[in-house]
């Protein structure tokens, strides 16, 4: 148990999960499942990155989709310009998202709590307004049209859904391992201390600004990767990617799954997508049913599902001991 809890354990777990995904994708050959795995990869990555801010650093961002969207647009534009290979364009899109996060983060992380949330929201809406107005570059409200070319690289053809599903799952698995290391590292420990006990952290000479900015940039970069996957999936980029509703959905997924556990947001993303899809499939009153399910879950558990389960398990163990 102990020995497997380090990074080796994470890598093994990620490989295991990837293997399961590969068996599902290649073995069952169901298009719906392939689509679900692609979307799970996309949103899983988005919520994991956002939870670095919320769960670890205690910064509730309402504007995380700004980086999701910027990754999608940067990647889509580069691929449409021709002459870029997929890996090169992905790296460039990540770099762009990181720079954007650096600029916005430098302004935002000075604030905390609801003010931080609203400032990130304001910047996201500003970027949204700019994307809408800059029609010649971004296509305005219609988004990037005409498709995103996906030339094969290293034998990977992303135009084929099965390849894209495995690629998305691999991106998620690798990112999850990396993010887990970030959280475990001294850097992550410092972030948690800043969250729980800022006085003590200040006393130890930790720079609030630098640590939080670091977390903001890392989270923004991974959100950019998830945006890249999204633009591969829908073969375009749309302004809704960086609208507040997208940030909102990521927040809801995290809330559903739980902010206190590393895997909570992933469970939340899967549950959110699953329930939402099922409801769309049987009724046109999506909001009514989906809202009711959300209310029951939130008010029933009063916390994310995995947080609730972990706590229930712990208290049961306590009782056993006693």
């Amino acid at each position: 148990m102990r020995r497997l809890s380090g990074w080796r354990g994470d890598v093994l777990a990620a490989l295991g999960a990837l293997l399961v995904a590969a068996v599902l994708v290649l073995g069952l050959g169901s298009n719906g499942l392939v689509d679900f795995i692609i979307r799970f990869g996309i949103f899983g990555l988005l919520v994991l990155s956002l939870n670095l801010l919320i769960g670890t650093a205690g910064l509730v961002s309402f504007g995380h989709a700004a980086f999701f969207g910027s990754g999608a647009y940067a990647f889509g534009l580069l691929m449409q310009s021709g002459g870029w290979s997929v890996p090169a364009a992905i790296l460039a899109a990540l770099l762009w998202s990181a720079l954007l996060a650096l600029a916005i983060g430098a302004l935002c992380v000075r604030l905390s709590e609801i003010y931080f949330a609203f400032l990130t929201l304001a910047f996201q809406m500003l970027i949204h307004s700019m994307v809408i107005s800059w029609v010649s570059l971004t296509g305005g409200d219609q988004g990037l049209m005409g498709g995103v070319p996906k030339p094969p690289f290293l034998g990977i053809e992303l135009a084929r859904p099965t390849h894209l599903a495995l690629f998305a799952a691999a991106c998620l698995a690798v990112s999850a391992v990396l993010l887990r290391q970030v959280i475990r590292s001294p850097f992550g420990v410092a972030l948690r201390m800043l969250r729980d006990n800022p006085q003590r952290a200040a006393f130890l000479g930790l720079s609030v600004f630098r640590y939080r900015l670091g977390a903001f940039v890392i989270a923004g970069t991974f959100a950019g990767l998830s945006g890249v996957l999204m633009s591969l999936y829908v073969s375009g980029a749309f302004p809704t990617f960086l609208y507040w509703t997208t940030s909102g959905e990521a927040l809801f997924m995290i809330m559903l799954g739980g902010i206190g556990t590393f895997l909570g947001p992933l469970l939340g993303a899967a549950t959110f997508l699953f329930i939402s899809d099922r409801i769309t499939a049987f009724t046109e009153h999506h909001g009514l049913f989906f809202g009711a399910v959300l209310l029951l879950l939130v008010l029933g558990l009063r916390k994310g599902m995995l947080d609730w389960a972990v706590e229930a398990w712990r208290s049961r163990r306590e009782r056993h001991k006693a």
């Binding site: 609801i114 809330m255 909001g287 809202g291």
Partner: protein, 300 residues
Amino acid sequence: MDLGELAACMGSLPCVITQVSAGLTIGLLLFLVASGLTLIFGVLGLVNFAHGTLYMLGAYFALSAYELTESFLVATLAGTLGVAVFGLLMERTLFRRIYGADVLMQLLVCYAVILIMDDVVKIVWGGDFLKMDMPETFRRPPLLIGGGIVPLFYLVLFGITLAVALLLALGMSRTRFGRTVRAAAVNPAMVASLGVNTSFVFAAVFAVGSGLAGLAGALSAPIRSVVPGAGVSILIESFIVTVIGGMGSIGGALAAALLIGLTRSFGSIGFPLFTEGLMFLMMAAILLVKPSGLAGKHLA
């Protein structure tokens, strides 16, 4: 950008009168929504993301009441009181459970309420965009005041909203209830220890805030389309007002709402394509320079 046009307008009295009167009217309507939002946040600590839904319901209630009675007064009252009662019920059954919960929890509950109510409205009134009629007396040609154009109905809106804003300000500063509310906002535990029923105060504040949003919805139903999802756009604008004015400050919300109203009406002449962006820019700038807003106490 059309700054020449803007300068020409500023130099002509009729143009200034037209734009200022329109800007103030729209600003005051916005204030009704934002004041409820800021009041609920200030006293209950609840960021009510579902506030736009209350505005939408006010419009629907008023529309139905007008179709039944053809009375503008009844429609306005139905919108206001109906939503106040609705808000009260929501507070007792739902929102009461999430006071003091973290903002994410509040966000999720409010989001669920928005989703549910948008669908409920669609089921009850249909997916069509609707319009409330107005009495013939309001439909006369616009008044010319100093050369500026002011429609009679806008004058009515201006009068009602201004009166409500003044009543609200007086009520908060002069009445016993207002003082209790302000004290409860600062220190609910102390107010409770003085024997005040804070649960009652909270419910009353939520009802008043809801009623204000309902009133705004009812008043705008004759000039705006009434449609499921109408709450969202008004919510964003109200949040901008609340943040610029300072979360929790009624006076700040008033100043910010008027500022937004005037920015919109003059912005449509000077920089027609960037009025929206300008509002978010103002919001970001205020948060960066003075996070507590124009009038707020510094909380950050």
